[in-house]
Chain length 244, copies 2
């Protein structure tokens, strides 16, 4: 996380630094990404920053508001559902298409689940968020298809942003149990069941979101001032949350 600009492949480093920041829940949705600041931070000119932003934009992780700035995406409720739907399709297809589980793969998953348990015991929510996403990337890696791994990584990044926006309370235990069930089915070689479980799991997680929370961009402010939900004065300027 420190020597990310090692004079070599600097643009790719900017890109990956931001992705990893999102994947580890260190960068919040709506965060402003100033070209100038990133440029000085990485010791390069705006050009390289710009190119990294372009790439991240096609990956659905950042967004540009013309002449205003670059921002980490803040998925709407609708987009959130789209992301989960896409994940259901891909992950169930992934699991159902699996032939078998190697010993190596079994070890990797078991170790991962242990990590989840440890993080849960430690109550490290950020680490948990990260791990919960990683589980699904691991499965894609097990499948051995680099294209699907890339797709899953980007979808996971968006999922984490979604959970930061809409997840009021963290049902970590429930998610962990879901992962364990999927792993158990895989270990038994029952990939059809594993696929079904993955769909159920994603449904559970999606249901756990409060997708009405951010529908009103003033909700946090209103909440923190304990105002009623209905009286919406025409306060002109936008609150902190960006939206295109």
């Amino acid at each position: 996380m420190q020597d990310l600009h090692t004079e070599q492949n600097r643009q790719a480093n900017i890109e990956e630094a931001i992705v990893s920041g999102v994947l580890s829940a260190r960068i919040r949705p709506g965060t402003r990404l100033s070209e100038n600041q990133l440029a000085t931070l990485f010791g390069v000119s705006r050009t390289l920053v710009r190119e990294a932003m372009m790439r991240l934009e096609t990956r659905g992780i950042v967004q540009v508001s013309p002449r205003r700035g670059w921002f980490v995406v803040e998925p709407s409720a609708e987009e959130a559902m789209t992301v989960y739907a896409a994940r259901r399709v891909i992950e169930s297809g992934l699991l159902r298409g699996m032939r078998g589980l190697t010993d190596e793969g079994r070890k990797v998953l078991a170790a991962h689940l242990d990590e989840e348990k440890a993080a849960m015991a430690a109550g490290d929510r950020r680490r948990l968020t990260c791990l919960m996403g990683d589980f699904h990337i691991r499965i894609a890696e097990l499948h051995g298809n680099p294209i699907l791994v890339e797709i899953m990584r980007d979808l996971t990044a968006r999922t984490i942003l979604i959970s930061m926006l809409y997840q009021s309370e963290f049902h970590a235990a429930q998610s962990h149990r879901g992962h364990c069930r999927i792993f158990a089915a895989m270990a038994k070689g029952d990939f059809v069941r594993a696929a079904e479980l993955s769909i159920e799991h994603l449904d559970e997680v999606e249901t756990g979101l409060d997708l009405t929370a951010r529908a009103d961009p003033l909700s946090d402010l209103r909440l923190s001032l304990s105002l009623p939900a209905d009286t919406a004065p025409k306060t002109s300027r936008r609150s902190g949350a960006r939206k295109t």
Copy 2:
């Protein structure tokens, strides 16, 4: 294809012009894409061209060879198999997850299959290539998930490049029959069957490829000189499908 640079959104136009060129099989794999040429062609500076190339690179459609140039990707045999595997996962997941087929959807697909038949009758291979890919994009569109549509579009682009490299003879009739079978299952509401059929279909198409053809980049040359397959002198440079 002509008024693609209408003074507005010029960078997106460059990107989409190239994607649509690939999707319609008008741009061959390995085609060189000179920043300067594209810049003058679209009446912009290299900067915008470059940004479009960056985006296309993350979409897996072009590739840069450092200080040598940008080229439309030439998927290796291994990459080709990866693309087909990814498509099997996504498309089967897509179909299996479908609830039902609207009358609208039924019409769209039926019309598409008619187009395929017409193109087959006319013997228009380029149009057929395009249509065969489009069928799968249509299915994704029917599912209504924009993320999956985007993914499928990019995978289809790569698939078309693959078929231009490795498809010695075009089993159009076979593919068409496959599409018809998938549609029939969907029309009956049997999406599980449709998913199975899509996997079979993709298997068939992949089997129809000659994935050893381009494994050796000199194969065409060797073949046309009727040299034995084994004596491989270390001639370095790529076979060079250049295009200006």
